[in-house]
Amino acid sequence: MNILMLGWEFPPLKTGGLGIHCYHVTKNLHAKNHHITFFIPRSSMDMHVDFVDIVQIPGCTLDPYVKMNSACNQVGENFAPGIDYFTESKKYADRVLEKASEKKFDVVHCHDWMTFEAGVKIKKKMKKPLVFTVHSTEFNRSGETYPNHKVYEIERKSMQEADAIIAVSNAVKDTLVNKYGIDHKKIRVIYNAVDHERFFKQQKNTMITCPTALFLGRLTIQKGAVFFLEAARKVAMKIPEAKFIIAGTGELFPELIQKSIDLGISKNVIFTGFVDDKLLAEVYKSADVYVMPSISEPFGITALEAMASKVPVIISKQSGVSEVITHCMKVDFWDTDKLADRMYGILKYASLKKTMACHGEFESRKFSWFDVAGQTEQVYARVLND
């Protein structure tokens, strides 16, 4: 089958789960003998891979999360300065439509709101079935506080046009049904996966010898790094030599540095800044516990990456991944007493760390991208039959 896919990030240019998902799903669809054309806004990066035909669309700038070399990552109400995202996404839609009419394909598949309008235009003009994958909604990106109404409206209108929607968790599906009024019958939940081997075979970093807890993610409200710091303070009272790594970058970077000083734990906290893809597996391996305290997390692939790395994980109950994993500990993101208690336990007791690491690693093998591609294939087959 020929698939036209619309995305706005693809490794090495990526900021989160969407890029990872697109990479592995296209790779595995290719292995299943499908042909994928992937439209992406033009960037300076070389995007060549042998399993997907990447077409860079010129004349528009779409990059809603992080700029790779920038400490500034703004979403929701406050987009990166100087870029009008709505004009850009409309420009993108027009250019994509031109390009699409030159291509031969059976189904068009879009990833998240920036590409949704383009997808709807293609569907209307070329009469092809339209599939959306929702990796994140405006409610997630805004940390469930002040969603941007324009983005919400684009999401809502476009999703009503889609023939099928893939949600990365039941939590996302519920949001689509309850907040966007989407018919639950056209939504299919397909959980994300992990490239197990990449993380599993990474050697342990022996440089760091003290008990170490890791946070890894964009430094935005949504990811809840501030709760990690508050819990860190409580842990440090009992384990003064403990280290707390904050890996990633984003709009809250300066604020979090200040916070670590205010809490009196600046000597315990290590900020790594942006983590290069090459270093990612090593960063996980340097930790004794991985903490994902997201306020809102549609899925949370990092939890699976940490588990595959044999690192125990504590995740917020508000994450999509918490629906499907058992060998982890789950806390409410705001309950920093409990979070601290669980971090302390893992740092303190080798038996706990070992048991969680073993079972967690084993459990992470359940999540394969090949299966995700297979389930995606089923969605295509369904919309083509309808």
């Binding site: 409580k234 009992k238 125990p312 058992t326 060998h327 982890c328 500990m329 789950k330 007493d337 409990k338 601290a340 208690d341 669980r342 302390y344 336990g345 303190k348 007791y349 080798a350 038996s351 706990l352 070992k354 048991t355 969680m356 079972h359 459990e363």
Partner: protein
């Protein structure tokens, strides 16, 4: 004649409250009294009260031909005395009929035998005393926590004056032999082993309401026929008492099943109900039962792996075990009681990772989100006990020094 022997295990643990690492050294209040009361009220309402009433009624209706046995843990009796004495009275009423036997076990439903023989004996004697004071009887048959068994345990129990001991009908020990006979235990002089017929027991305990089971619905007349056609001296049906009304809800018809079973069984001329002590008097042991390692009735593995398999369980148990001599030296009753409550097997069961991903009976009654949460909570409490112990020991030693001066 073929006997039918019902024995029910009655126990509720003292659940630990959520005890944070920030509480270590600040609070010595470990138990969740509200939750314990809540669960006890629920299980009393759903199981103990209606089941006791039913059994008392059946004893009267059959003129004492229906007989059963219980073992009721000391910690459970304590909780009942404190919170629901009227429920305790229904158990006393049953024993007063003379048709109900009480078996002994460890007071704390604990892993005490694995701590030390001395500790085990202490908890068994405590339980003897408790039973004497509550029911006015002295037990003659012993049942260790979760039917943990070995030749060595049996010998220890015999030395304490017991005539019989309960064990799971272990296939790998019995091989071709039937659990429906009494056996000698290797290493004992004349103690007899009563073996659980797990197939027929589990038909009630597990399969009774299982959808799709080929024998569903299980009726009293059908089951009585299975019992009547069983070969051997006795069919030993050993169950968690909570089977009635809690594991098997009233909607499954479990109480109707119980109501009709005695009369269906007694329709057969060759059948009667006996208590464990009656079996010991009535039948000779026919062969040797030899268990050189620790076995139990738990899960499919029938070993100790539900409590002591993963590294967390082992670390927690080694820590609690290592405190024994210090605790005994100090002789502080409160610390001793806390320490013993921490030996309760349930604490270790909550940390089990074997079946965690599948989610099954281990989840039932388990108030923790995961085995990992259970471990952390337990270790926090244990750390506080250790800290108290160290402080008291220091104070103790200083006191001794002063006296010497």
């Amino acid at each position: 004649m073929t006997s039918v022997c019902f024995y029910f295990q009655v126990h509720q643990p003292n659940r630990l409250r959520h005890y944070s690492f920030l509480d270590i050294g600040n609070s010595h209040n470990y138990f969740d009294d509200d939750a314990n009361k809540f669960y006890l009220e629920r299980v009393s309402r759903k199981c103990y009260i209606p089941a006791n009433e039913k059994i008392l009624d059946l004893i009267h209706k059959t003129d004492g031909q229906f007989k059963v046995a219980y073992s009721i843990t000391g910690v459970f009796l304590e909780l009942l005395e404190k919170e629901f004495p009227h429920v305790l009275q229904t158990f006393v009423d049953l024993v007063d009929t003379g048709c109900v036997e009480i078996l002994n076990e460890t007071y704390y439903h604990s892993l005490a035998y694995l701590v030390s023989k001395d500790e085990f004996k202490n908890q068994v004697k405590m339980q003897e005393k408790k039973i004497k004071s509550v029911f006015g009887v002295t037990p003659k048959v012993f049942r260790n926590t979760e039917s943990m068994f070995s030749n060595e345990i049996a010998a220890t129990v015999e030395q304490m004056g017991y005539k019989g001991i309960i064990c799971e009908g272990l296939d790998n020990i019995l091989t071709w032999r039937s659990p429906n006979f009494l056996y000698y235990c290797r290493g004992c002089s004349d103690m007899k082993v009563l073996l659980r017929n797990y197939r027929l027991s589990d038909d009630i305990g597990f399969r009774f309401s299982t959808p799709g089971w080929s024998e569903a619905p299980l009726t009293a007349d059908k089951y009585a026929l299975w019992l009547a056609s069983s070969p051997g001296q006795t069919v030993n049906l050993f169950l968690d008492y909570e089977t009635f009304g809690e594991h098997q809800w009233p909607e499954t018809g479990i109480f109707e099943f119980l109501s009709h079973l005695p009369s269906e069984v007694l329709k057969n001329e060759h059948m009667e109900f006996n208590t464990p002590s009656e079996l010991l008097k009535k039948y000779e042991a026919i062969g040797e039962f030899d268990v050189p390692y620790f076995a139990s009735w738990a899960d499919v593995d029938r070993d100790l792996s539900a409590w002591l398999e993963n590294d967390m369980q082992k670390e927690a148990f080694e820590r609690i075990k290592s405190l024994e001599s210090k605790i005994n030296q100090l002789g502080d009753k409160t610390i001793l009681d806390d320490w013993r409550k921490l030996q309760t097997s349930d604490n270790f069961y909550y940390m089990c990772t074997k079946w965690f991903a599948d989610g099954d009976i281990h989840k039932y009654f388990n108030h923790y989100d995961s085995p990992y949460d259970a471990f952390i909570n337990y270790m926090n409490v244990l750390s506080d006990v250790e800290q108290r112990l160290a402080q008291k020991n220091d104070a103790h030693q200083i006191g001794e020094l002063k006296t010497e001066v």
